[in-house]
């Protein structure tokens, strides 16, 4: 049974990212992989048994609460080291980095990705499209944040920004390392981009997924790409 862990949705669920878990479970089911979602609230200990861990976007106070809870036992670092898949969106992406800086403090992150986030000058809000080396097609989403994320030396971005802002610097969005993926794409990103959902599932089960034929998912992703005003 593939275990999808949705972390602190009451805190990291401001922009609909809870749907990422729903889409993973749904597509796993279509690909004949048994999967379940485990919701872990702020008050629960984080299990180390998961196959896929999901973190979403949050408001400032919620982001800090979640980060401090996740420090206990360094579970995320440990499961990342054994190859569990981690997808972190927006605030979730920021807290798994080296550190993030707010207007009044500098907060050390969980250190899963070598990235640093600092306050930006304006809010970055709108449709976003990203070309990632992982896919033949662009990934689309919606971004809503006001931070600048800088990648450490040699860190690979999730993709190159074609529409929107992403990390807010160098024309890049997100970061990735081994099985850990971070991005600014809400949407939820796995709903809009089934290819990404399937990639995470394949990474988690360690083999190709049976071909998943979901016409509506495909139609939806195509339509989302067509309205994202992507120019190459």
């Amino acid at each position: 049974m593939l275990e999808i862990i949705r972390i602190h949705n009451e805190l990291l669920g401001t922009y609909g990212d809870r749907g990422n878990a729903d889409v993973l479970k749904y597509r796993a089911h279509l690909g004949k992989v048994k999967a379940r979602i485990t919701d872990i609230s702020y008050l629960d200990p984080l299990p180390d048994s998961g196959d896929i861990y999901l973190l979403g976007g949050a408001e400032d106070a919620a982001q800090l609460l979640s980060l401090n809870a996740l420090r206990k036992g360094s579970i995320l670092s440990r499961v990342a080291a054994r190859g569990a898949v981690i997808l972190a969106i927006c605030a979730g992406f920021q807290i798994i980095g080296t550190k993030y800086v707010t207007r009044d403090q500098e907060i050390p992150g969980l250190g899963l990705l070598d990235i640093t986030t600092t306050p930006g000058e304006k809010r970055l809000v709108g449709d976003i499209a990203v070309q990632s080396s992982l896919f033949d097609v662009p990934m689309t989403g919606f971004e809503n944040h006001s931070s600048i994320t800088t990648l450490g030396e040699g860190v690979e971005a999730f993709g190159r920004v074609m529409v929107g802002n992403g990390n807010g610097v160098a024309g890049l969005d997100g970061a990735m390392h081994q099985q850990v993926f971070g991005t600014y794409l809400h949407g939820p990103v796995l709903a809009r981009n089934p290819e990404f959902a399937d990639l995470l599932l394949e990474r988690a089960i360690g083999k190709p997924l049976l071909s998943v034929d979901d016409e509506l998912a495909h139609k939806y992703a195509l339509w989302r790409r067509s309205v994202a005003k992507i120019s190459y």
Partner: protein, 373 residues
């Protein structure tokens, strides 16, 4: 000088209002826009000598404002803005009236500035939940602004539904407050204490924080009920402050719902514009045929990610038709929840595909105005 500008502005604005009405335009915001251009201080000047009542919150503004207008009208003529024109220009247009009372629905982001300009007699704060995040950004950001401005308005009576922790936080430092509780209700975005940033402890629908923020301490307590029931009580409390007799409202008078006959079918329209209003609507009775209309224009919220925070489970077993500019966002969202639907190009087409004699139409903001009004 200000006086001359104000007079000129009013003359021009009234002229524009009259001529735009001549061309079939309702003319609710254009006059106010012109007035504010010529006399930027018009709102504060026009508010002088009036009893001003402001109503704000994520959900229920328009219907509650109508209820308050009905109540206050017992005392004398009331100036009010038309449905939905709740920005500064809408307020300016309404305030041009010579009526002694003004009852205005105000957009959440505009509320602090309108309070500062009008020195209102009463402000009614309904609720704050996630809505239009592309311009609100975060619920806490809106509440922070209210928190600051409510403390400044020392002449105003605030009537606050503190079952919502963001509302309780907003009025935490206000001088004159009537805190109202309906015995508590869960809040979809209430995991963090807005006052101190701690994880907020909830027991059922009641919250208590170590910093002292709680809905258990209040000046008025009522039994629990639907949003329209609560808003009717809150509207009457406003009336009580200004000396008007209470009025009884039926639930449907305060619902954002409209009944209409279309092509021989009875259509029940309901405004659903964010997770909170969707959840409220999905708890109600639904016909066998349901049409969902989703747009994503500025006032609808251009990001539709929040659809994933709503459970559409109750639609199972209904015949679901979807239309609107963002129909596919909706169709795929409910598909993953195991609900199949039919996406059609237009609302007219959806109506023709309705099998029964009546249909529930759950509709986003812009579509609601186009189709139901």
């Amino acid at each position: 000088m200000a006086d001359i500008r104000l007079k000129t502005g009013i003359v021009l604005a009234k002229f524009v209002s009259a001529s735009s009405k001549l061309f079939g335009n309702k003319g609710e915001t254009l006059p106010g826009r012109i007035l504010l251009k010529i006399a930027p201080e018009a709102i504060s000047l026009l508010a002088q000598g009036k009893e001003v009542i402001l109503i704000s919150g994520t959900n229920g503004k328009t219907s509650t404002t109508k209820a308050v207008v009905a109540i206050v009208s017992q005392l004398g003529p009331v100036a009010t803005s038309a449905s939905g024109s709740n920005l500064a220009r809408g307020a300016a247009t309404a305030l041009m009236s010579s009526a002694p009372y003004a009852v205005l629905e105000i957009d959440e982001l505009h509320l602090p500035s309108i309070i500062a300009q009008t020195d209102p007699t009463v402000v009614l704060l309904l609720n704050l939940t996630r809505d239009q995040l592309h311009r609100m950004y975060e619920v806490k950001r809106v509440a922070d602004r209210w928190h600051v401005e409510c403390a400044e308005a020392i002449n105003t009576v605030f009537i606050a539904d503190i079952d919502d922790p963001f509302i309780n936080y907003s009025i935490a430092n206000a001088v004159n407050v009537l805190r109202v509780s309906f015995g508590g209700r869960p809040h979809p975005d209430g995991a963090v204490c807005p006052l101190c940033g701690s994880y907020l402890t909830w027991k059922g629908g009641n919250y208590s924080c170590t910093c002292g923020l709680t809905n258990k301490i209040c000046e008025a307590r009522f039994k629990t009920g639907s949003a329209s029931y609560r808003n009717a009580i809150l509207a009457n409390l406003v009336g009580e402050v200004v000396g008007a007799d209470p009025i009884e409202f039926t639930e449907s008078q305060l619902e954002r719902s409209v009944e209409k006959e279309i092509n021989g079918k009875k259509a029940y329209f309901r405004l659903t514009k964010n997770p909170a209003s969707w959840n409220e609507a999905l708890q109600g009775d639904l016909c066998d045929d349901v049409i969902l209309v989703l747009n994503a224009r500025q006032v609808d919220g251009i990001d539709t990610s929040w659809l994933w925070d709503i459970s559409f489970e109750v639609l199972k077993g209904h015949r679901v038709l979807i239309c609107g500019e963002r129909a596919l966002d909706m169709a795929y969202r409910i598909h993953v929840e195991g609900i199949e639907s039919k996406v059609v190009e237009t609302f007219d087409e959806a109506i023709t595909q309705v099998e029964g004699t009546e249909v529930s139409v759950l509709s986003a903001y812009t579509a609601f105005f186009e189709l139901a009004m």
